[in-house]
């Protein structure tokens, strides 16, 4: 059990982060709290990619004369970082659209409580 934990702390942490985010999206009644859950879920996935790119003892992926080019294992993998830069942009834009919708909902209903909103829609 403990051996399994050792060296995999990051994955356990991210798994719990994913579950927390998902729980927030499903169980919270307030729409803003749902969005917080959504952001936690997205962040956990972005971090998962970055943890996957990590190499123990690896340097930043910039050419260094002392490390040379012979052994790519001396650098961390740069591709997931660049990909996740795009994913972060996507997450921010999604959040922006979601807040625009929340403002529109609040203007026409005056509340952000999901159950109250569903009742008023009837």
């Amino acid at each position: 059990m403990l051996e399994n934990l050792e060296g995999h702390f990051a994955y356990y942490f991210l798994a719990s982060l994913t579950v927390i985010g998902f729980y927030g999206m499903l169980a919270k009644r307030n729409l803003v709290k749902k969005l917080i859950g959504m952001t936690i879920l997205q962040t956990s996935i972005i971090l998962f990619w970055l943890v996957g790119a990590y190499r123990a003892g690896g340097s930043v992926p910039i050419y260094d004369e002392r490390l040379g080019m012979a052994d790519p294992a001396r650098y961390v993998n740069p591709l997931p970082h660049t990909l996740m830069l795009t994913a972060i942009v996507v997450a921010v834009v999604t959040l922006g659209v979601a807040f625009a919708l929340i403002i529109a909902i609040h203007r026409s209903y005056g509340t952000l409580d999901e159950e109250e909103l569903l009742e008023r829609m009837r």
């Binding site: 994913t18 998902f22 999206m25 729409l31 749902k34 969005l35 959504m38 879920l41 997205q42 996935i45 998962f48 990619w49 996957g52 997931p80 990909l83 795009t86 994913a87 996507v90 834009v93 999604t94 659209v97 979601a98 625009a100 919708l101 929340i102 529109a104 909902i105 026409s108 209903y109 909103l117 829609m121």
Partner: protein, 496 residues
């Protein structure tokens, strides 16, 4: 401009138009609809040219920025993507032509951003279909989804709330896709579809690969509203404006189905995909959705909501075809993507026309004065309804026929029973509407005058697109043998 650039030009045509609409719209609003139709026509012409070209001389590939794959991103126009792009662009064009009038009456003052968003929506969809890179696909997926949220959020008072729920579900779906892709990338070290397929065939029984595929499958199932992940769809489609629904409904879910086809049968080896329990699950959930969507559709008094539930059931047919993982099942799924895009677009266009002329699309308030006032629109509706039920020679019959053949081939009696049952249920909910439209007399004394905003048939800009789609259903139905032998059979993945 050579043919080699076609794959990149199609999404680019929409993207440039989206910018032009904003610029020209700031100067003169009336320019926006013309520009949108022009841009969509350009996209459709390019896509059809691509379809002809691919059928004649094989797939095209475009290396973005001159970086050769697998390092760079490539756009691939092969049999399947050329077919899908043609469907998306043509149906998108028709829906936009029809929407010119409904946007002006239903969402005045928001036409310019609406049309700009619809161009970005089509950019995202065509990009998703064309890209040969799985991460690039995620980016285009989010582009099309964000534009779809904007399109669906304008409309009735409830629209922002319904769209918010779609947004959370849709974002969860896209996040699952990204999560699953991380597993595949960490296992194989590449994102290019062709390259990934080669490498995955060496490691495909590893647990991370199966984890990754499952997450990606669930994400796409959410996006394509596969039962039981369809909860967001009915509200979002009902509360949006007519133009928004008729643009998003026929296309959004189909492209997610395309991603499943691409992932299971092209990136993976079909032989391996067939053994995946995930694929079987997709098939059986599709069957459940077929029945569930039909039953729920019967219970709906609102036409748009009924059509939305019927979408859930029609997506089920596509999923069932994918789940069978046989050549016939593949043909049925691809043919149904085309047929359903035409049928559903036609039905939603008529719903939009009804809202323009009557101000509502509430089924219990329909009566036979509709037939007198709008004979052509009603005829188009009737034809599309017959096609949904699956009566030959309309297009809907043939995709069901191929699906039934595929089910017989594998002795899948559950699917066959669901097919028969849902066709009967489809008949129930469409004849219920047709009966009111054609037979039920107008209530005494009330007349139709107070409810009618403008009596008579809809203007030509709305009637022609509706009739083109309705006529298209007959053409696609009668020409289905040609379609299957010349377009769909050549695109069958090797080894299926």
């Amino acid at each position: 401009m050579t043919a080699a650039n076609l794959p990149a030009l199609i999404p680019l045509a929409y993207l440039v138009t989206a910018l032009l609409i904003q610029l020209a719209g700031a100067w003169r609003r009336s320019l926006a609809p013309t520009l949108a139709v022009t841009g969509a026509s350009a996209g459709a012409v390019l896509a059809l040219a691509g379809l002809v070209r691919v059928a004649a001389s094989g797939p095209l590939s475009y290396e973005l920025g001159g970086w050769p794959p697998p390092v760079g991103i490539e756009f691939v126009l092969d049999g399947l993507s050329a077919f899908m792009v043609a469907v998306v662009t043509v149906v998108g064009l028709v829906a936009l032509v029809h929407g010119g009038r409904t946007t002006a009456t239903e969402i005045p003052g928001r036409v310019v951003p609406f049309l700009s968003a619809s161009m970005i929506f089509l950019t995202g969809l065509t990009g998703m279909v064309l890209t040969g890179d799985l991460f690039n696909l995620y980016v285009f997926l989010e582009i099309s989804s964000l534009a779809a949220y904007a399109l669906l959020a304008v409309g009735s008072r409830q629209a922002p709330l319904s769209t918010f729920r779609y947004l959370t579900m849709g974002t969860a779906g896209a996040s699952f896709y990204l999560f699953g892709l991380a597993f595949l990338y960490l296992e194989a070290g590449t994102l290019n579809m062709a390259d990934l397929g080669r490498i995955l065939s060496l490691v495909e029984s590893h647990a991370p690969v199966i984890m990754g595929l499952t997450f990606m499958g669930v994400g796409m199932a959410l996006k394509m509203a596969l039962f039981p992940l369809h909860g967001w769809l009915p509200d979002a489609y009902t509360d949006a404006s007519s133009a928004g629904t008729s643009l998003v409904a026929p296309l959004g879910t189909k492209v997610a189905a395309y991603v499943l086809l691409r992932l299971f049968f092209y990136v993976l080896e079909p032989e391996y995909a067939r053994g995946l329990p995930l694929l079987t699950a997709v098939g059986y959930l599709g069957i459940a959705g077929v029945v569930w969507g039909s039953v729920m559709a019967i219970l709906q008094p609102e036409l748009k909501r009924m059509l939305a539930y019927s979408s859930v059931s029609q997506v089920g047919y596509i999923a069932a075809g994918i789940g069978l993982a046989s050549p016939l099942g593949f043909i049925a799924a691809v043919l149904h993507i085309l047929n359903h895009a035409f049928m559903k677009a036609c039905l939603f266009l008529v719903a939009g026309s009804l809202r323009l002329r009557r101000g509502h699309s509430h089924i219990p308030r329909f009566d036979r004065s509709l037939r007198r006032a709008m004979p052509w629109s009603m005829a188009a509706f009737a034809l599309a309804a017959l096609s949904m039920i699956g009566i030959p020679p309309t297009a809907g019959f043939f995709s069901k026929w191929y699906l039934a053949l595929a089910a017989l081939e594998q002795a899948n009696w559950v699917l066959l029973a669901a097919l028969v049952a849902s066709s009967l249920l489809n008949a129930v909910y469409f004849f219920r509407v047709l009966e009111r439209m054609y037979l039920v007399p107008a209530p005494e004394g009330v007349g139709t005058a107070p409810a009618a905003i403008e009596p008579g048939e809809v203007p030509a800009s709305m009637l022609v697109p509706t009739l083109v789609l309705a006529g298209g259903l007959l053409v696609l139905g009668l020409g289905n043998a040609w379609l299957v032998t010349h377009l769909i059979r050549p695109m069958l993945p090797a080894g299926l």
